[in-house]
């Protein structure tokens, strides 16, 4: 016990005494560890950003979508569809679900009535597809029972009304022959330049106040039911949902899709390997510098090694001591590198650099930090082997007289 502690204390003393030498030798190691850790963290953010972008379009992993089309006039009434969806959700105890219906609805703007792209949804969709609201709020469950429809719109919609924000609690007339006044309660961020006006409304409210002409009947799309389920049940549930919904809707074609394997894991893997490769080479170069300086240092310390042998230091202890100097040094350098990486990742808006805000910013990759630290320590041990062997070969009597 005291042997190991003693060797570590000795190693630390050596490093303390030769701060400048150690500092110079370890800059490379620290930078390499910082690079490995920071790039891994950056890759995780890039991956997360990419994943979130995909999730905004197709939903979180795993989202199943149930599409249904009436095949003939004799098909079951569309109202049956909602009942079929509700039964399926209850039967399989699905927590996150939303109808999602893309349609067009007329709105009365200052320059006249215009048909605008509208998504009729349920409140859960905000979580399922990472829909954020930069001003105002998203739909609440209670909104479905409100006397007037509420809208969440994009900035282009607001601009078409001649407004910049929701300060004046704006409203807009929805519909053509019998319009209803809808309140705008939220604004989503602009996703790209030149967006056209778009609005989202609760599905139940839309069908209560306005049914777009020509959207029912054979071949016309009905709302998609999206459900967010655990990956392990997705396959089985997909089959069951298709079978169950089709069974209660005679004359309807029902198909279920999912968004599994959207491709970002490949990006994640490739980028990680590039990061590790670059970091590994940097670490190797740092290690070579360390070997060089450690060898020179050991030659300067031959007399000291002889004196220590006269104190009763075994050759094993001398070997371990010199090896530990290298290991302790690289360990410290690794820690410095990680601190450096944390400072960079926390202070540089990496997520913004990668094109857009990240909703769920990934935590600092502790695993990457540990891998970097382990690599640095390993390089330290390898770099320490050569000088440690040289130190052990020193003849005690010659060393004392050196």
């Amino acid at each position: 016990m005291t042997g190991v502690v003693g060797a570590i204390v000795e190693a630390w003393d050596e490093l303390r005494l030769h701060k400048l030498r150690v500092l110079l030798a370890l800059v490379g190691v620290a930078v390499a560890v910082a690079a490995i850790t920071a790039v891994t963290a950056a890759v995780q953010m890039l991956t997360q950003g990419y994943a979130e972008t995909l999730e905004r379009d197709s939903g979180r992993q795993v989202t199943l979508g149930v599409d249904a089309w009436p095949q003939s006039e004799q098909a079951a009434a569309p109202t049956e569809l909602d009942a079929a969806y509700a039964r399926a959700l209850e039967r399989y105890d699905i927590t996150w679900a939303s109808r999602d219906w893309y349609t067009q609805v007329p709105f009365r703007f200052p320059d006249g009535t215009r048909r605008v792209d509208v998504r009729a949804v349920d409140p859960d969709l905000a979580v399922m597809q990472r829909i954020s609201v930069e001003d105002g709020r998203w739909f609440a469950d209670a909104d479905a029972d409100a006397f007037a429809p509420v809208l969440v719109v994009n900035p282009a919609f607001l601009a078409a009304l001649g407004l910049d924000d929701l300060a004046g609690h704006p409203t807009v007339l929805l519909g053509d022959d019998h319009p209803v006044r809808a309140a705008i309660v939220g604004v989503t961020p602009q996703r790209w330049q030149g967006e056209t006006p778009q609005a989202m409304v609760l599905y139940e409210q839309l069908v209560r106040w306005y049914v777009p002409a020509g959207t029912t009947g054979p071949g016309q799309p009905a709302p998609t039911l999206k459900v967010w389920v655990p990956p392990e049940v997705a396959g089985d549930l997909s089959d069951r949902l298709e079978r169950d919904v089709a069974a209660v809707l005679p004359g309807w074609q029902v198909s279920v899709w999912d968004n599994r394997g959207s491709g970002y894991s490949a990006l994640d893997g490739a980028a990680r390997w590039v990061a590790l490769g670059v970091g590994g080479i940097a670490l190797l170069l740092g290690g070579l510098g360390l070997v060089n300086i450690a060898l020179v240092t050991v030659r300067h310390r031959i007399r000291e090694i002889g004196i220590r042998r006269s104190f009763g230091a075994t050759s094993g202890r001398i070997f371990f001591g010199v090896l530990m100097e290298s290991v302790v040094a690289t360990l410290v350098a690794g820690l410095v590198g990680i601190v450096l990486a944390v400072a960079v990742i926390k202070n540089v808006p990496v997520d913004v650099l990668f094109g857009g805000g990240i909703q769920d910013r990934p935590p600092f990759p502790v695993s990457a930090a540990l891998v970097g630290l382990a690599c640095a320590t390993g390089v330290g041990a390898l770099a320490g082997l050569i000088p440690a062997t040289v130190a052990v070969r020193v003849k005690v009597i010659d060393a004392i007289r050196y």
Binding site: T2, G6, L17, S310, F311, G312, A313, T314, V396
Partner: protein, 266 residues
């Protein structure tokens, strides 16, 4: 039973031209616990080799060395190292303090290899030892800021810090002026006698050697007892030779050939 016992010890090395050089020849020596023994001799006569063998830094080519009755040939390398650290304290001519370490760190250094309590309390023990050699107020001073005498005091404190049974001093006053050398030797004697450690001193200095209870002369690798307290001294260079030189019982008769230095009066 003697603490150290050399019997007919020879140490030879092979030279680059393949000749065998005998550094020590048939050396027989016993040192008891608490004894003070001095060995005088010219440079190159094998004094340091003798000290290295006694301190387990080197091993005899022939003959036997018993440490507390145990032949050291029977000890493993690890055990020899362990006993060297535990039983011997070295004082070198050039002090050999560790550079860049304070006096306290230098004295604590041997305790890095000590077991248990001594290891964990090394700084306190080292501070006590420095206090005993009169350097209690210089604990954090670097060796280069200390005088030669003070540096040798630090070296003495370091040699004694593990409570060795034998102190091996190789020209302990060689780098000091006469007065400082006497002070250092007085200190070494005093601490050795208090701790009960045997003291083997190798020196050129007759005054230093005279402090010992028993005296030996090493010439051409042959160790012979001398009495520095008694007979008048004859000199070869700076080393005394005595008309009444007495061989140790059982010691081999040294073969000193025609190349032996002529004895001349100073």
């Amino acid at each position: 039973m003697s603490l150290l016992e050399l019997t007919e010890v020879t140490r030879s090395v092979r030279l680059p031209d393949d000749r065998l050089l005998e550094i020590l020849r048939g050396v027989t020596l016993t040192v008891g616990a608490g004894e003070h023994v001095a060995v005088v001799g010219r440079s190159g006569t094998g004094k340091s080799t003798l000290l290295n063998i006694l301190g387990l830094l080197d091993a005899p080519t022939a003959g036997e060395y018993r440490l507390e009755g145990v032949p050291i040939g029977r000890l493993s390398g690890r055990e020899r190292t362990r006993r060297r650290g535990r039983d011997f304290g070295f004082v070198f001519q050039q002090f050999n303090l560790l550079p860049g370490r304070t006096a306290l760190e230098n004295v604590a250094a041997p305790l890095m290899y000590a077991p248990g309590r001594q290891f964990w309390r090394r700084r306190a023990i080292a501070a006590q030892m420095l206090d005993r050699v009169g350097l209690g107020d210089r604990l954090d001073t670097m060796p280069e800021k200390l005088s030669g005498g003070e540096q040798q005091r630090v070296a003495i404190a370091r040699a004694l810090v593990r409570g060795p049974r034998v102190i091996l001093a190789d020209e302990p006053t060689g780098a000091l002026d006469v007065e400082t050398g006497q002070e250092v030797m007085a200190l070494l004697d005093e601490i050795a006698s208090i701790t009960g450690a045997a003291l083997v001193t190798i020196t050129h200095d007759l005054a230093v050697a005279a402090r010992a209870q028993r005296h030996y002369r090493l010439a051409e690798g042959v160790l012979v007892p001398v009495d520095l307290h008694g007979a008048a001294h004859e000199w070869v260079g700076d080393v005394p030779t005595l008309p009444g030189t007495r061989r140790l019982p059982g010691a081999a008769v040294p073969e000193i050939g025609p190349s032996a230095p002529a004895q001349v009066q100073p």
